[in-house]
C-alpha cells in the first residue's frame, strides 16, 4: 500500500477560538431543551396554582403526549433516508381502529389485536416503500395517496362509529400504570427514542441510511443497497406509526375514525424542530422528543391561561415553518463556515 508523504500532524490543541466554537456548538445543541425549561418556568410563574402540578404536568403533558412523540419518531427513519411519510397519521388511526374492532367487536385477545395492528402497519409501510422504490414515485405523492386510501378503509372498517370499551389491560399498561409518577406510555416513547438513536448512531444500517438520505449517488457507488434501505425505512415508519395507534387506543380506551389525523402536522413540526437540537442539522430521535414536549408545554400553558383553542393550530403550524427556516439557517451558516480554503 501507499505511503504518500509525511505523517499528518496530531490535531492542533484547542485554542481559544476553537473553544468558543465548541461553546457555540453546545449552546446550539441545548437550545431547544433550554427553551422548553424556560417555557415551564414562565407558565409556572404565570399559573402557579394549576400549571406546575403533578396531574397537569406528569400525567397530562408527559402521558398523553406519548402518542405524539411516537408518531414524530415514526417520521425519523424515512426523513433520515430522504423520504416523506405523510401516511403515518392515517396509519395510526387504522391501527387504533384495528385494535378496537378486533378486541371489542370480535372479542380477540388484546395481545393478538396489537400484533395484527402492528403487522398491518408493516404491510402499509411495505406497500408505500414498494411504490416508491419499484415504480420510482415521489414518496410525498405515494404516501399522500395511501393516506387517503387508509382513511377510507378506516371508515369502512368502523362503519363510521367511535368504538369504546377497549380492554382495560391496554389502558392500564399505557396510561394508568406509572413508573416514577409518570404513565408508562411516556417510558415506551422514551425507550423507542433510545432504540432509534442506537440504530441510527451505532449500527451499520443507521450509518447507511444517513448516506442514502444525504448522497444517494455516493451511497450507490459505495455498494449500498439503496432501494432496500429506503424500503426498510418506510416499513419501520409503518410499524412505529401503528405502535403510536396502539398507544392512542390505550390512552383513550377507544378508537374513532378521524381524530388521529390531528397528530400529523405536530409530528412534522416536532421532527423538523428536533433537527435543530441535540444533533443539529440531523433528524434525530431525542431532538424530536424534546420538540414534542416543548410544543405541548407551550400549548397547554396557553390554554390554561385562557387562550382560545385555535391558538393550538397557529402554534403547531408556526412551529413547523419556523423549524424549517431555522434548520435552513443552521445549514447555510455551516456551509459558509465550511467553504474549503485551498
Amino acid at each position: 500500500m501507499s505511503t504518500a508523504g509525511a505523517p499528518a500532524p496530531a490535531p492542533a490543541p484547542a485554542d481559544r477560538s476553537q473553544r468558543r466554537v465548541r461553546l457555540a456548538d453546545v449552546a446550539e445543541r441545548a437550545a431547544l431543551p433550554v427553551a422548553w425549561i424556560a417555557t415551564i418556568v414562565a407558565f409556572s410563574i404565570a399559573e402557579p396554582d394549576t400549571f406546575p402540578t403533578t396531574d397537569n404536568f406528569f400525567i397530562n403533558i408527559f402521558g398523553t403526549q406519548a402518542v405524539q412523540v411516537v408518531l414524530a419518531l415514526a417520521l425519523i427513519p424515512p426523513l433520515v433516508a430522504g423520504e416523506y411519510d405523510i401516511s403515518v397519521a392515517a396509519n395510526l388511526t387504522l391501527a387504533a381502529m384495528i385494535v378496537a374492532v378486533l378486541n371489542v367487536d370480535h372479542g380477540t385477545s388484546i395481545g393478538l389485536a396489537i400484533l395484527v395492528a402492528l403487522a398491518v402497519g408493516a404491510l402499509i409501510g411495505a406497500i408505500n416503500g414498494g411504490l416508491i422504490v419499484l415504480l420510482g414515485i415521489d414518496s410525498f405523492i405515494v404516501t399522500l395517496g395511501t393516506s387517503s386510501i387508509i382513511a377510507g378503509v378506516v371508515l369502512w372498517l368502523s362503519e363510521s362509529r367511535t368504538i369504546g370499551g377497549i380492554s382495560s389491560d391496554l389502558v392500564d399498561a399505557v396510561i394508568i400504570d406509572q413508573f416514577l409518577g409518570v404513565p408508562l406510555a411516556f417510558w415506551y416513547a422514551l425507550a423507542l427514542a433510545a432504540v432509534l438513536f442506537y440504530v441510527l448512531e451505532f449500527t451499520p444500517i443507521g450509518r447507511r441510511l444517513l448516506f442514502v438520505g444525504r448522497g444517494r449517488s455516493v451511497a450507490r457507488l459505495s455498494g449500498l443497497h439503496v432501494a432496500r434501505l429506503r424500503w426498510g425505512a418506510m416499513i419501520a415508519s409503518g410499524v412505529i406509526a401503528a405502535g403510536a395507534g396502539v398507544i392512542y387506543a390505550g390512552t383513550t380506551g377507544s378508537a374513532d375514525p378521524s381524530s388521529g389525523l390531528q397528530f400529523l402536522l405536530p409530528a412534522f413540526s416536532a421532527a423538523f424542530l428536533g433537527a435543530t437540537a441535540i444533533q443539529p442539522g440531523r433528524f434525530n430521535p431525542f431532538g424530536a422528543v424534546a420538540a414534542v414536549y416543548f410544543l405541548a408545554t407551550g400549548i397547554t400553558g396557553l390554554q390554561q391561561l385562557g387562550v382560545d383553542p385555535f391558538v393550538q393550530q397557529l402554534f403547531y403550524g408556526g412551529a413547523l415553518v419556523l423549524a424549517v427556516a431555522l434548520s435552513q439557517l443552521v445549514r447555510r451558516r455551516r456551509a459558509i463556515e465550511l467553504t474549503p480554503t485551498e
Binding site: 499528518a8 450509518r207 449517488s217 457507488l221
Partner: protein, 480 residues
C-alpha cells in the same frame, strides 16, 4: 465565422464566461462594434450587445414543448404583456423555423426530438433572443454544440450556421473537432495556457499546423519509469464493452500497471469507469479478472465492490462523498460490517483507523471527526483515495483524479496511485489532462467515437503524442 481552439484548461471557457458575465476579468478591454465596453460585464447584459450563447448542454427543458422552450427568454423577461397566446407563438415559431430552413414541429416535446434538432432549436432560440433585444444581426457564441451529435447530423447544424453568417451575423465557434473547424470557419484563434497562441486564416492553415498551435512546443520535464508489463499475468481483461458512449471496446490492464483512457469530449473514454463498476448499465461486455468471467450487463456497484472493483468518480461533491458528514463516516462507509461487534459499531476504532489512514495518505488537517466538506479539494480527494485504496482493491477506476485539486496535492495523488499499482492493483485512469497521463501512465488508450483508435506505450506516452492522437481520432473515419 471564427473558430476558437485550445486544449482543456487553455482558457476557452474562461473567456466565454467573461463575455457571458459569469466571471470578472482581472484586466483587459472589450470593444463591441468599435465602442469600448466597461468590464466586468454584468450577467445577462450580453443580450443588449447582441451576443447570444449556446452552451454544450443546450439549456433546453426536455419536458416542455418546442415553442415553450423557444419563447422561454420572452417569458422570463416578462414584457408588459399580461397574456401569452400560444397559438400565435406557435405560428411565429413556424415562420421562424421556415426562415432558417429548419424542420421542427413547434408543438413537439423537446425530449422527443433528435439530438440534432435539439441543437438546432437551441441555436435558433439564441438567434431570436439576440434579434429581440438588439438591432442588427449580432454575434452568436457556440460552445462545442456538436459534441453529442452523430457525424451525419452535424451537417444540418452547419447549414443553419451558414444561414446566420449569410444574413450578416457573426459566429464564434468553439470546438475540439479540428475537421469541423476547418470545414466551417473563416479564421481561427488558438488559445494555449491562457494566451493567444495565434490567429490564422483557416484556408491557409493545414491540420498539422493547427495541432502544433494547440499543443505548442513544450518540453516534458518529468519522466516516470515506464515498464512493459506484458509478461505479467493478465489481471483484468475487458471484452466487447458496449454501453452509453462506447462501442465494443476490448483491452487488458496488467497487474501493477496504470493505464490511461483519454480522447476528446464525447469520444466515450469517460464512460468506461462507470460501466466497469456497474454505476451505468452496459449493454454488452465481459470482465475477466482472477480467472473469473463476469457479465458486465448484470453488474451493480455492490457486486463490483465484492469483486474488488473501486471507483473514484470525477464528481466528488455528488458521487464521491457526503460533505456534511465526518471524514470517518465517509471513509469507513464501504467497510462498516468490519467494525461491528455484538451489534454495536466500534466508533472509537473507526476514528482511530481513519486517523491512521489520514496520516498515511497525508490528509490535512488529520482530524477524523472533522466534516469532509471542510477539507480542501486536494485533501478531499486524498480522503477518497483512503476510502477506496485501504481495502486493497484489485481494479481501481479513476475519472479525472485531480479535478479541482491544487498542484501540490496532485503530485501526492500521482505517487499514491503509482504506489497502489506497485502493490498489485490494476489501475485505470480516465482523464482529459494529457500532461497527467504522461506523468502516471504506463500505457494510454485513445478513444474516438466510442472506440479505441490508438494505443501509446513506452516513450510514446507524451503529452504531445496523446493530444495529437486525440485530434487524429476525431478525424480518422471509423468504419460504420
Amino acid at each position: 465565422m471564427h473558430g476558437l481552439l485550445g486544449e482543456n484548461g487553455s482558457g476557452k471557457s474562461t473567456l466565454i464566461k467573461i463575455l457571458a458575465g459569469f466571471h470578472a476579468p482581472d484586466d483587459g478591454e472589450l470593444e463591441i462594434a468599435g465602442q469600448p465596453v466597461p468590464l466586468p460585464l454584468p450577467p445577462g447584459l450580453f443580450r443588449e450587445f447582441g451576443i447570444g450563447f449556446v452552451h454544450q448542454d443546450l439549456a433546453l427543458i426536455l419536458s416542455l414543448t418546442v415553442v415553450e422552450n423557444l419563447r422561454a427568454g420572452l417569458i422570463t423577461r416578462a414584457r408588459r404583456r399580461p397574456f401569452l397566446s400560444w397559438r400565435a407563438e406557435a405560428r411565429r415559431a413556424r415562420a421562424t423555423f421556415a426562415r432558417y430552413g429548419v424542420r421542427i414541429s413547434p408543438t413537439a416535446i423537446v425530449g422527443e426530438l433528435r439530438p440534432a434538432d435539439r441543437a438546432l432549436l437551441a441555436i435558433v432560440r439564441a438567434i431570436e433572443d439576440v434579434r429581440d433585444e438588439h438591432e442588427g444581426p449580432g454575434m452568436l457564441v457556440l460552445d462545442e454544440p456538436t459534441v453529442f451529435l452523430p457525424r451525419a447530423e452535424v451537417e444540418h447544424l452547419f447549414a443553419l450556421i451558414r444561414e446566420i453568417t449569410a444574413t450578416g451575423g457573426s459566429v464564434l465557434f468553439v470546438s475540439h473537432e479540428l475537421d469541423e473547424v476547418r470545414q466551417i470557419t473563416d479564421r481561427v484563434t488558438v488559445l494555449r495556457d491562457g494566451r493567444v497562441a495565434g490567429t490564422a486564416v483557416t484556408a491557409d492553415t493545414d491540420e498539422s499546423r493547427l495541432v502544433e498551435m494547440i499543443i505548442g512546443r513544450r518540453l516534458a520535464t518529468y519522466v516516470v519509469e515506464r515498464r512493459d508489463r506484458t509478461d505479467h499475468a493478465r489481471a483484468a481483461s475487458v471484452r466487447d464493452l458496449t454501453g452509453p458512449g462506447v462501442l465494443g471496446v476490448s483491452f487488458d490492464v496488467q497487474q501493477g500497471e496504470v493505464v490511461g483512457l483519454t480522447g476528446l469530449a464525447g469520444s466515450g473514454f469517460e464512460s468506461v469507469p462507470y460501466l466497469l463498476c456497474g454505476a451505468w448499465r452496459a449493454q454488452e461486455g465481459r470482465l475477466v479478472m482472477d480467472g473469473r468471467e463476469r457479465d458486465l450487463t448484470g453488474l451493480d456497484p455492490h457486486r463490483a465492490l465484492n469483486a474488488g472493483i473501486a471507483l473514484i468518480p470525477a464528481d466528488r461533491q455528488r458521487s464521491g462523498a457526503v460533505g456534511s458528514l465526518s471524514v470517518t463516516d465517509n471513509v469507513t462507509l464501504p467497510r462498516l460490517p468490519a467494525y461491528r461487534r455484538a451489534g454495536v459499531l466500534r466508533r472509537g476504532a473507526m476514528h482511530r483507523d481513519t486517523g491512521g489512514l489520514m496520516g498515511r495518505f497525508d490528509v490535512r488537517p488529520g482530524d477524523p471527526r472533522a466534516e469532509y466538506g471542510g477539507l480542501s479539494g486536494g485533501n478531499q480527494q486524498k480522503a477518497l483515495l483512503a476510502k477506496w485504496l485501504s481495502s486493497s482493491p484489485r481494479l481501481v477506476l479513476f475519472h479525472e483524479p485531480t479535478q479541482g485539486v491544487d498542484v501540490g496535492a496532485r503530485q501526492q495523488i500521482y505517487a499514491t496511485m503509482r504506489a497502489a499499482a506497485e502493490a498489485g492493483a490494476c489501475m485505470l485512469c480516465a482523464s482529459s489532462d494529457h500532461g497527467q497521463l504522461e506523468q502516471i501512465c504506463d500505457r494510454v488508450l485513445v478513444f474516438g467515437r466510442g472506440r479505441i483508435t490508438s494505443e501509446l506505450s513506452g516513450d510514446d506516452v507524451t503529452r504531445e503524442r496523446i493530444t495529437e492522437r486525440c485530434y487524429a481520432a476525431a478525424v480518422v473515419p471509423v468504419p460504420e
